[in-house]
């Protein structure tokens, strides 16, 4: 990175945070070492703004940190009991919307949804489960796609489009029927040109996209979030949690 003029600054939770033109609140916070919870944002890809975990209060108005450009004189609060309570509600919503049986999930311990739940001190899913029937697609020789665990963050969509140049994934349906689709008339991942080496195969924050034959390579108890809080892990420059 060059050295863009850091002429501007704002405050987040009382801390002085400099930023340069074009940076979002999230970018500036990351650079300054201030953690703002997030699920659909990964600094490697275009911001998306859908999970809403990163909503912060800016001069009294709620804004989405990962998409809102930073501006001088912003007084941002993020780590407040009120916002964290609402974030917890969002994580609970994601849990009941999908079918997350964490003890039976290969991603347990590496899953950011689970880690966000720990971080926000979620004790139970609270809301009534939807139990929506969702498909598991094992047609690909090297990759499982389990839509029961998809939180619609569209990171795989973005990675496949922006990095892999493939457009393997897309979104269809509307409202609660919104779902991930793959680029094949059969609707099967095995009929796409998806490869386990694709960036899109590495970015899923949950256990919805899993590489086959890696199962439990790292035993439960020794996984990323078994030892680290999500607020530390997500602050590292590039996220190695799926390594």
């Amino acid at each position: 990175m060059g050295a863009p003029a850091m002429s501007n600054s704002m405050t987040i939770d009382g801390k002085h945070v400099p930023f340069s033109d074009g940076q979002t609140i999230m970018d500036a916070a990351l650079a300054a070492g201030v953690y703002i919870p997030r699920l659909c944002h990964n600094p490697q890809f275009e911001p998306h703004g859908s999970c809403k975990l990163c909503v912060v209060s800016v001069n009294g108005r709620n804004m989405t940190a990962c998409t809102m450009p930073a501006a001088a004189d912003m007084v941002v609060t993020s780590n407040t009991p009120e916002l964290n309570r609402d974030r917890k509600a969002l994580v609970q919503m994601l849990f009941v919307e999908g079918n997350h049986i964490c003890p039976a999930c290969e991603a347990s311990g590496n899953c950011q949804l689970q880690a966000a739940a720990y971080y926000l001190e979620m004790q139970s899913p609270h809301y009534t489960h939807f139990y929506q029937p969702r498909a598991v697609d094992a047609s690909h020789p090297d990759i499982f796609l389990d839509l029961n665990r998809c939180i619609l963050c569209e990171l795989c969509v973005r990675a496949s489009r922006e990095v892999d140049g493939k457009d393997v994934f897309g979104i269809s349906g509307r409202g609660i029927g919104t779902h991930l689709v793959v680029n094949a008339a059969s609707g099967r991942l095995g009929d796409t040109n998806f490869a386990a080496t694709d960036q899109a195969a590495q970015v899923c924050p949950t256990g919805a996209i899993l590489i086959k034959r890696q199962g439990y390579k790292i035993p439960i108890g020794q996984r990323t979030f078994d030892h680290h809080n999500i607020s530390e892990v997500q602050m590292k420059p590039l996220e190695p949690e799926h390594e």
Binding site: G49, C51, K52, L53, L152, V168, G173, T178
Partner: protein, 597 residues
């Protein structure tokens, strides 16, 4: 569906692609035509479109799966969608739908075995003043009753094409009950444009400023400010868009403006185009109003012939502007201006992240103005008659008049134009409201007003409205009203952000639980919490307002739900008797023994 079931698909679709110049921006228009040809969107068509438009298949599938009027499964040669607005419900639509299904051996949401027809419900079709209403293959049916449904069943059994059905089934009346300056005075096509050219663009913008005109689509943003921001934005092209999505349940005033005042609306667009420097405009017409398409095309053709559209308008060299009509396909969210622009670009109607705003980065990332139909009609009047004349009407913050669409429990439903500042009580008297108890102002996303508030006034300072006014008399079940709103939002959430996608569903489930006599006091608290999360964490106006009816009910109308609550502090949402419903349906039983005590 297998591709081999449509061996001719390529030959059938290529002419459609050609007509739209194989432009990916026209994907939604192309999918609409595919739906008309096959009565659904076969998987083979998706593959074929993707190949010919050179876009990923996922993009086509994504758009096809978003809009209610496109179906990925066969919906039959005849698709009948009963309007599910609360006014349609009060007029008996649920019973009519059951009657029709029973008569034709149908199950709602499922296509008949011979693939002839399907029946389902749809969000408000904008015929609240002449319901119960429905759509057949996209054409509006009004004033439904048993006799008309018998006739329709007959027509379908005879496989009569919809275009040959008796016209009286499709009659749509304007029902203008009270006209003010906008609706009452005649307009000479071209007058506002001539005045604009004589005065000059900057001076006409100053008239807009002096008029105090604010947007009629809901948010009430200053038109002069929006137009000058767009005018000042650099871009290769500027665009002006008329928002005729009119999706807010209970609103039907734009329908009347487009039917009987289309010249005025087009004139307003052209004035705006002159001011912001646009050479291209779009009229985004909701799919429910496609019956107006032909007539609107004729108005555009007349205006072109009269030199009011096209090149060198009114002989002014370099003043080039034309309007293209874009049809929606059943999605309330596409009324939100940035979702509307996405839809215009042939995409899913997903609201954009803002900033940037459309005035700098709109259609194709170019500076774009999006204005409501009525706003543009007002702008034409102001261009012709000056800003001071307009500002003299209404109140300090809300100049001019407002067109209201009034329906529900009143003797004379229809269109009423009043100067801003009019008291609700006076409106209720004029429309013949029978013992009014509550009024939903501006639809489900607006305010539910109680009788104590009938002295409030329609204006941005007090009771703002995009135009809907639905009257409920004493004795109406307001919980049913709110349940209808909750179902509407759950159905129309675009699904992009977590709080709205999941929150509207949870809200619907809890309201249903209360309506089904299983609610407890803790459910009320739950609804308030959910409302808070949706209001404060959602991505766009839909999520921000989706809890309004529920929260108003909780605060203002305790009598409507308190007797429904169980004494217990908590009751599980799982309903054992409800779980037996499938078994009852299969066996066709609904007697006392088929229920748990």
């Amino acid at each position: 569906m297998q591709p081999h079931e449509f061996p001719q698909i390529e030959q059938q679709l290529v002419p459609v692609f050609e007509r739209y110049g194989r432009e990916a921006n026209k994907l939604l228009q192309i999918l609409r035509e595919v739906q008309e040809i096959f009565h659904f969107i076969p998987a083979a068509a998706i593959t074929c479109i993707a190949a010919h438009l050179d876009v990923p298949r996922t993009r086509v599938e994504g758009v096809a799966g978003f809009y209610s009027f496109l179906s990925l499964k066969s919906a039959g040669e005849y698709r009948i969608l009963f309007s599910d607005n609360i006014t349609d419900q009060m007029q008996g639509n649920p019973e009519l739908m059951r009657y029709f299904c029973h008569k034709l051996w149908l199950e709602p949401g499922k296509v008949s075995e011979d693939n002839l027809l399907s029946v389902d419900s749809t969000s408000c079709t904008g015929m609240c003043d002449q319901g119960p209403a429905a759509l057949v293959n996209g054409w509006p049916l009004t004033n439904l009753d048993h006799a008309r449904l018998d006739l329709i069943a007959e027509l379908i059994r005879d496989r009569k094409p919809v275009c040959d059905w008796p016209p009286m089934l499709f009659e749509v009346k304007d029902n203008i009950r009270r006209a003010g300056t906008l609706l009452g005075e005649s307009c000479i096509p071209g007058a506002a444009l001539r005045a604009t050219l004589e005065r000059g663009s900057a001076a006409t913008l100053a008239e807009m400023e002096a008029s105090g005109l604010r947007g009629r689509g809901g948010a009430g943003f200053s038109v002069a400010r929006k137009w000058s921001m767009c005018r000042a934005s650099a871009g290769e092209q500027h665009y002006i868009v008329c928002n005729a999505d009119e999706g807010e349940p209970g609103t039907f005033k734009d329908r009347v403006l487009l039917h009987s005042y289309a010249d005025l609306v087009c004139e307003g667009m052209t004035v705006g185009a002159r001011i912001i420097g646009a050479s291209k405009g779009f009229l985004y017409l909701r799919g429910e109003y496609r019956y107006l398409l032909h007539q609107l095309e004729q108005v555009l053709a007349q205006r072109r012939a009269a030199g009011l559209l096209g090149r060198n308008i009114l002989g002014e060299s370099g003043f080039d502007f034309d309007i293209e009509i874009h049809l929606g396909a059943g999605a309330y969210i596409c009324g939100e201006e940035s979702a509307l622009i996405e839809s215009l670009e042939g995409k899913r109607g997903r609201p954009r992240n803002r900033p940037p705003f459309p005035v700098t980065h709109g259609y194709l990332d170019q500076p774009t103005v999006v204005d409501n139909v009525e706003t543009l009609a007002c702008a034409a009047r102001i261009a012709a008659q000056g800003g001071a004349w307009f500002a003299a009407m209404g109140t300090a913050q809300s100049s001019g008049s407002k067109i209201l669409s009034i329906a529900g429990d009143c003797a004379r439903p229809g269109i009423y134009e009043y100067p801003f500042g009019i008291a609700l009580q006076e409106i209720l008297d004029d429309c013949g409201a029978e013992d009014p108890y509550a009024v939903q102002v501006s639809g489900p996303s607006g305010i539910l007003v109680s009788a104590q508030e009938f002295n409030r006034r329609i204006c941005f300072e007090d009771l703002p409205t995009a135009g809907a006014l639905t009257v409920f008399r004493r004795g109406r079940d307001l919980l049913q009203v709110v349940q209808n709103s909750a179902h509407f939002f759950a159905h129309e959430s675009c699904g992009f952000c977590t709080p709205c996608r999941v929150g509207t569903q949870l809200q619907k489930k809890i309201v249903d639980k209360i309506a089904n006599d299983h609610g407890t006091v803790s459910d009320l608290e739950e609804l308030k919490q959910l409302g808070h999360v949706m209001q404060t964490m959602s991505h766009c106006g839909l999520g921000h307002t989706a809890a309004n009816p529920v929260l108003d009910l909780l605060q203002k109308f305790p009598d409507a739900y308190q007797h429904k609550l169980k004494k217990l502090a908590f009751e599980p949402a799982f309903d054992l008797d409800g779980a037996l419903e499938t078994a009852r349906n299969i066996t066709g039983r609904d007697d006392a023994w088929a229920h748990l005590p």
